[in-house]
Symmetry: C2
Subunit: 309 residues, 2 copies
């Protein structure tokens, strides 16, 4: 298949590498000049679960891509998704399928502005990756990459894409539960990430505060209203029990948003977590004031730290 | 008149000193052993607007007071009010009037658990004071000490108490607007104090964040619902305009809650600001989720800093 990776950072490069090795025609797309140049000059070097390899895969800035594609994986940061879709519009045909494995909420709505719903395939992944240098990434994982069609008539197409990922060693699996999984992950990030960032504490410390469960309940109650709009039932008490239990298992670690915001002064993805629920509330007529003030507090902290959004 | 000062910290000592000098029979009540002992041994030394004086005024622990009183001023910290009232119950008759000039919300409800509403007189003061050592305080002010009866039939009694304060040089003034003034002050503390404490910033920095006005609007909208229960109209837009304007005037200063919580690791009075509005919401059937999560975040921060409540 002709596949583009729109956003070839760590995870995108990893997926592109495996899909290329499985015999697909892969194009890497990214906006980081050093990375694009390094890949075109020396090839893409990937450490996959400890085993190193290099492949000559073409890399382009979005505006320089000439081809159109059968499948596009989007692997941008949440806040860059719309810009990327805008920039690669000329590479999409009416049949190009887009696979979105991004964390967070609201991506389906963004995708639907650029392509027909029948071409949208949402998924989740627990694989992880990091960039070691321009053109060099490490990529780890073995758990399932779950995928689901959004249009009920497109299950066969989803299964074909799953098969393509399975053949590339990416452990693709069909799921009829992706929307639930996405909300479940968002519940984790929309509580642990934001609360540890606002309070400047680790997950264990958060879980030991007297008001932790109450704060989680306030947030998850609003998330459950957003999930309901998408046909997903989130049991508030069960979810909060799960989160409190998770805190105990994770222990004294800082979540990724704390690393981004407090430690590295990078913009956060709060607009795709609590901010997305607050926005859904306005559009679908439910109240989400807790998510709104949480989002406002995180943005205020970004401003105080001089972080550009 | 026979007057007790229940909570003879800085401000209470100042009031007691002036009332004593005006010829009233004053008893100081406090729970701090060093302070009570110093006053009984050396007298109460007060620097009033730069002029020093010492008066032999009897001081007691609450449980050791034998008398009953015509008037009791409560000058505890907000969170100690209920305990103090509990401890001095034996000093109250069915005619003892209580004057409460404390900042914050919900004190009237606390008082009403211990004395009839006809005996409750609420007020506001802009006078300030500090403790220099056990038995030694400074006390500053000249602005009005406003007072109002809660029971509509008790206006004459309020005017008598005002006269007593005026005679003591405390600039007592009758006001039919005390409930509004109390809410107005609470709006300042329920936004500037809590937001600067959560975000660890000064008032000027807060006012320059992009989401400042939005956060204030979310909070004041809920405060206006609480005020409505008490018959007070708070115009949300006008109040937020006033607060934003106030931020500009106050400039790069940290509010008192930031000093308490972040700088000195002392418990905050959030339960008598946003927490009181959240509680009113539960009792009177309006939603106040923003005030609830703000209160929970402040309490979580107290826990993280090891502050006992």
């Amino acid at each position: 298949m002709k596949i583009a990776i729109a956003g070839s950072g760590a995870l995108g490069s990893g997926f592109g590498f495996k899909l290329f090795q499985a015999g697909n025609e892969v194009t890497l797309i990214d906006t980081w000049p050093d990375h694009v140049e390094a890949i075109n000059t020396n090839g893409l070097e990937v450490d996959f679960n400890g085993e190193k390899g290099t492949e000559k895969i073409p890399a382009f800035f979005p505006q320089d891509v000439k081809d159109t594609f059968d499948v596009v994986f989007v692997f941008t940061k949440s806040m860059q998704l719309a810009n990327m879709l805008e920039a690669i519009q000329h590479t999409l045909t009416e049949d190009t399928k887009i696979i979105c494995l991004l964390n967070g909420l609201g991506h389906k709505q963004t995708l639907a502005k650029y392509i027909p719903v029948k071409n949208i395939f949402m998924g989740t992944t627990v694989w992880t990756a990091g960039i070691d240098a321009p053109g060099k990434v490490h990529f780890m994982g073995q758990g399932p990459v779950e995928l689901q069609n959004i249009d009920p008539n497109e299950k066969a197409a989803a299964e074909e894409l799953v098969e393509m990922m399975a053949k590339a060693g990416l452990n693709g699996q069909y799921s009829d539960n992706v929307v639930f999984s996405t909300w479940r992950k968002a519940c984790v990030n929309g509580t642990l990430n934001v609360l540890c960032s606002i309070l400047d504490c680790d997950i264990e410390e958060l879980s030991k505060t007297e008001t932790c469960r109450n704060m989680m309940t306030s947030i998850i109650t609003e998330f459950s209203l957003g999930a309901k709009v998408e046909g997903v039932t989130l049991d508030v008490t069960e979810t909060v029990d799960y989160l409190m239990d998770l805190c105990g298992k994770v222990g004294p670690h800082y979540p990724s948003m704390h690393q981004d915001l407090i430690q590295n002064h990078r913009p956060t993805e709060v607009d795709y977590l609590n901010g997305a629920v607050a926005k859904m509330g306005k559009e679908h007529g439910f109240d989400a004031p807790t998510c709104q003030i949480i989002t406002d507090l995180i943005h205020a902290k970004e401003d105080l730290l001089g972080i550009k959004r």
